[in-house]
Amino acid sequence: MLAYAFRRVLSAIPIALIAVTACFFILRLAPGGPFDGERALPPTVLANLRAHYNLDQPLIVQYFIYIWRLVQGDLGPSMVIDGFNVSQLIAIGFPFTLTMALTAFVIATVVGLLAGMVASVYQNKWPDYVLVLGVMVGVLIPNFLMAALLQLWFGVYLKWLPAGGWVNGSWMHLVLPVTVLAWPHAGRISRLMRGSMIEVLGSNYVRTARAKGLGERLVVARHAIKPALLPVVSYLGPGLSYLLTGSLAVEQVFGLPGIGKYFVTAALNRDYGVVLGTTILYMFIILALNLIVDLVYAWLDPKVRYS
């Protein structure tokens, strides 16, 4: 299994490199540059700025400079935010994004699993309908709208929670953003869990267990949950990576520092280094997550063998 993991990591490197390369050139071919603001810069100033960031070199030279630095672990400077380089921005933003995503992930997974189980046990009865409707609302309402509405309702009308911003160590400031992130995730988990539970509950061996005279509660607890978890587990990896990239709208509305926001701002401002740096980070995380999920899956399901 270790060898398998190692090979997967190795094989990801060339593809990651291709992705970085594609990203690099697409960005450079896109119209507009980091110094195209509302006002024209005097040509001498522009020339100086371009020279400062090596933008006056031929594109291919710039590419090799970038890759060479990247190999050494240097993600380069931010061309728009003067006081920071890309690694520093990531070091500031990533902990926020990660904290939010992980909190949302844990809460949503637990809530989603419970809701899915309850719904499946009460299939087509009122708890099922209420739960399905409740979680689907979170999946179907665009998250920027959800964020705006929750902010208005709980932050402005009821004043129960801060309407945005970040104060170090204050969990109150995390409640609304995490809710917006977690709700759709809980919805998807509960749908998967419900579907797979219904299937398991209808399977032969559960019928056998019931026939043996076990109470419904014991049947569910002892025989149904574990096999029903398999499809859910395989969703957790993509789910977490979606939470990580999906934090973007939440960071925008609530004014939180996070890499999702840095990415979008940088893409719009043509801050090449930040766009590439955040993309590489995301890729790295998603690769790692997929790998972990596969390993967990293999551990849960003895039928799967990696060689």
């Binding site: 593809i15 990651a16 960005l27 705006a148 998807r188």
Partner: protein, 306 residues
Amino acid sequence: MPGLTGKDQVLTTYANKLASLDAPKGRSLTQDALRRLARNKAAVVSIAILVLIIVTAIVGPYLVPWGYAQVDWSNIRKPPNFEVGHYLGTDQNGRDMLARVLQGTQMSLIVALVATLVSVTIGVVYGAVAGYFGGRVDAIMMRFVDIMYALPYILFVIILVVMFGRNPVLLFIGIGAIEWLTMARIVRGQTLSIKEKEFVEAARAGGVKPFTIIMRHIVPNLTGPVVIYATLTIPEIIIAESFLSYLGLGVQEPQTSLGTLISAGAPVAEVMPWLLLAPALVLVTMLFCLTYIGDGLRDALDPKDR
């Protein structure tokens, strides 16, 4: 974006079930499957509502008194007013909201259909080729798919829009082009098992070209997965589109989409609720319907119950 609605898992489970059976499977929507679908009340109601929405979006613009780009200078940012024919009010430019919601629904649907079509096409061709030729070709092609899963799609979409500008067609061909991974995996699995079947061997022995075999014998067996895939992908695209609109990367004015209308309505939810309510209601209804239809189809096409 794979992962948005968890469709990968739904489809993979479905495909696994298909693979665990012998003999002709996943055949098109048989009468049997249709009958089962018809018994599913939620799905039937959803289909009815969806058809109604689609028909209204296509026919409606010819029936409403105002055009979607037409400005009514005497009614700027006014709430619904039946006397002058602004049944859903007007926006800050004095344009009729009903006409705009209809046009936006149309645009959202077109965009979702185009993107889904593109991704299905690429997915089917890619998966069939990999599965049919097998061996090293298959290994390399599938490795590529595995790694592609690791790319942060929404970011790529944003980069694409930044690159190509606000052109909806180009943009959603772009989205479609990175949405095909799941489809490719499932098609490959199907192909792997079908190509061992006698009728395919016979065709090959008879000198039929690989492409013809794929098109004639393999693709028709994919109706089930494709239909489910499409019902799950369309909502994803619609949500993705609305998110891009929020970032200011939506379709070009004066055209609009549900996402654009909602992101314009969200900030004024309090002062001009009519700008938000109608588009949000249509969007949520449409997505609800698609979800129920998807569930219904999955149950109806479930190979296990045959």
